[in-house]
Symmetry: D2
């Protein structure tokens, strides 16, 4: 069965909606129920929940406004990540292969043992399980995260763990819904900081690195006289897929045109810029400020 | 026969030195001769030319101090790049294969025709051939360079063409000499601009991308509490080879440790940073300033 | 009476130490008492608390390890900022004059009324008073802070308010202790991102802007061939005073030397860089990366 | 008499136009004559020279297309800067006072002597006088410039000196013409690199620092939800005056709103950003990328 859009989902009978949304927050179907009650069932509900952001924010506000005890229950409803890793490790090698190479199952015994000890320390210090929004996480992410977070104060980590929970919810919504009609788009801009002007005529390639089923070369662009891409956004509509991307900026060729003094092997030549798109409804502006000797980028607007 | 070091070269008989250095500047053996006369043959020569930089600077100063007419002759001694491309294109496909894929031989007829026209315009405007230090150049570099440079004033382009000539000389010296004992080295530093501190515990990989015979994974590093690499330079001595390199910074794992608010698919996760090392005798400091939403790098010191 | 150093303070009789430290956390002398008990009075206390950072961290860890109820009491022990503002506003104009111009007393009636409403909303939403570490705060800071923080979830704001409390404690310790023997120092570095090299020969001025009693021109520097300042740190020892500083980089003069193409009125000429020093025991590295068309700075290490 | 606009100037009789433009390039009235001949007097002249950029580019192309000998004559037509300084120094102190404090007349005897020696070296090496577009130059600029440029090769410095000549011409045109109807404008944008979003609600002040007759506070802005200024450009039309400007960004107040962890004395609080506007017909985009621990700016578009 194909994924529903948000309006299609909310148009279904209550029971089906609750079944669908009940899984978004781990073992905490009460959030979906309360969300439904306070929004969809409200007399004056005006249908304002149209996209995944609207839906997420409405559900998350149920969590935000719940009591400290309810929040603690929500945290406690999450499984022990350590147990999950052991389960993964017990799979046949073939099944493991399906997981990412650097994935959780590939933990060495030493790493597993270190994580186990930190996991115990974490649970006993804070009174709730270690939670990590793990879609793109490797064993290194997990170890790095717990090493840092185990040293925080309980107040800070309580708030931080709830952020992880909200991220998991967000990613589950993204995975379960059809967001192809959302309004997000990707743009670019290249500024030449050696000459103080837009970088005109720079060749740029865009690749999608993940999700695997959509990975590959997307398109070639040449910057216009304002250093931007002609023909509108680099990605929009159905092509604007949540995932990982990479620009390649052919900066060396551009600076050859500008008569720039560079070295024989240019310090900067092909510049890869890898970034993630997380929100199907937002504008991602991912520019490059570049001289032959330095560059910077940022999430712009 | 193995490549000589600079002292080994200069210890050879004059004839051999001149044969060796006579090819460094295209069809302009007079530069090597004058260099030899004014340095090695000088009564008070103290042997101060020890590495490739010393040698290059001494030869290049012959060019710098020559007359405008001599400089023009030097430029004119260079072959027509257009003819060279036609020659490459006439090779069998097998031979072409040995050239880089994006290499000059792969110019389409349209591109070749465009380049030919610009090349004629260039020669007739400036009175000397179009010169490009082309070791890492692709057809895109060549086209980009001539498109930009054909519009400069003659004074500016005359000076710029001489810079290309000096770059070619530099790269020929690098290719012909043994520089493995030179003192260059590579260092790194990671600053966390979200938290205003060194990024401690960030995993970094270093790969060498070229030259092909030395390409591959070099090493894994973990930043220390000052955001630097323990154990001295990342590369030095025989490992510090002129070529192209890439750091991979596992920034996503680092920020997971810092409890940073990031999106489900992190905007920045694995950050590739590709850079060239051109000078076997210099310090390359290639740092990263990074938040979950921005980063920058530069040739440091 | 002059301010004690940390060792001098801790060598005093218990009663005096507690009187001194009892004021550091607002109306919460129990923190100083517990600190004293768990550190100074411990049988195996080895005198390791030597500077203001050691002392602060030891006291703050009492707070961090206290119960949620104790933390809430600590927050509630703080006065109502709104009442304090009204008190300031009721002073004679002369007394107000002694406060900063943009200070809290200068709130207009409209601003006061807006702040009052937000303050009520804040207290009723969170159950504790709005706390802001206000040494350098103006009325704009206060309004900006409450506008943002009133919208956070209680968990996040509870943790955030405790951070404010710790900042106040830190600043009170700084104000009450003699830290002139601390080991902090200030360094600089200028990189030329147009030419990919250290900026040699750049003139730099350093001014201290606050505290008022130490404000004024500090020194002129010229960068050396590594883009750094000769003769060690720009500030150290008694000159390294907590306060606000400003570098002035004469970048226009530097680029005139480099033959850089710039406009008639340079886009960048004298570059002011204003920064605060907060910790008398740390290294502040405040560099400049600069081309004629762009610059950046950061807290380095 | 008030300054003419470009169309007003070009509508005057030939003689007057030549008198006006004849002074733009030092003692080289032939440039204005040739410009007039090849543009205004041409049968098919279509009146396309409408603003100061059009006029400058048309005159400068006369220079660019002149012979090497003519260019050398143009350089030689410039006065000796050393003699000019001596003349300034011989003025009464009162007259000197009218010059900038750090101005050329304030050279100490030692500095004058150093400059004199470099000036002689320069002239004898290159065969033309040292030229510096000096409107905003101080004695430091002059000394820095000649120290760097005296070491260049003649080809590079010949091209560079011509760039100085063109800058002087540009600034003389700007000073002599009414450009208040030109289309230039100033915009701003503030990105929060700690949180990966536009910085909403940041207070910004704009001051004009020069020219002296227009110096002063210009306006206060508050960034909108895209981090930009509401109500269009910060400056345009008659307010968009060639000169020096300074933004003050109240970043500390903004980050207080974002609940950012900062130090007691913020590392960054009020951020001054000083920049020059040189071209009355261009768009100046001068943004800020900022976290509590780092910032950068650049000439954008």
């Amino acid at each position: 069965m194909s994924k529903p859009t948000v309006p299609e989902l909310l148009a279904q009978p209550k029971e089906q909606v609750l079944e669908f949304l009940g899984k978004i927050y781990e073992h905490s179907a009460w959030i979906a129920e309360k969300f439904y009650q306070e929004n969809i069932e409200k007399e004056d509900y005006d249908g304002n929940i149209q996209n995944v952001n609207d839906l997420f924010l409405a559900m998350q506000s149920i969590v935000d406004n719940s009591s400290t005890e309810e929040k603690l229950e929500l945290l406690k409803a999450h499984p022990d990540l350590c147990a999950k890793i052991d389960q993964l490790k017990s799979l046949t090698e073939e099944s493991q292969e399906e997981q990412s190479k650097a994935g959780l199952a590939s933990m060495t015994d030493e790493e597993r043992s270190k994580f186990g000890a930190l996991n115990e320390e974490y649970k006993s210090k804070f009174g709730f399980p270690f939670i990590l929004a793990a879609r793109n996480a490797t064993k290194y992410t997990v170890l790095s995260a717990i090493e840092g977070r185990v040293h925080l104060t309980r107040d800070v980590e309580f708030a931080g763990a709830l952020v992880q929970v909200s991220k998991i919810a967000w990613m589950r919504l993204l995975a379960a819904l059809d967001t192809s009609g959302h309004k997000g788009f990707l743009t670019c801009h290249v500024l030449d900081t050696q000459n103080g002007c837009p970088a005109e005529g720079m060749r740029i390639h865009l690749h999608r690195l993940s999700p695997p089923e959509h990975a590959g070369f997307v398109k070639e662009f040449i910057t216009n006289d304002d250093g931007r891409l002609d023909g509108g956004p680099a990605l929009k509509g159905e092509e604007f897929i949540v995932g990982t991307y990479e620009w390649t900026f052919y900066a060396g060729d551009y600076f050859a045109r500008k008569n720039a003094k560079t070295s024989g092997v240019p310090f900067l030549n092909e510049i890869p810029l890898r970034f993630g798109i997380d929100d199907p409804a937002e504008h991602y502006h991912v520019p490059l400020l570049v001289s032959p000797w330095s560059y910077s980028t940022y999430r712009g607007s």
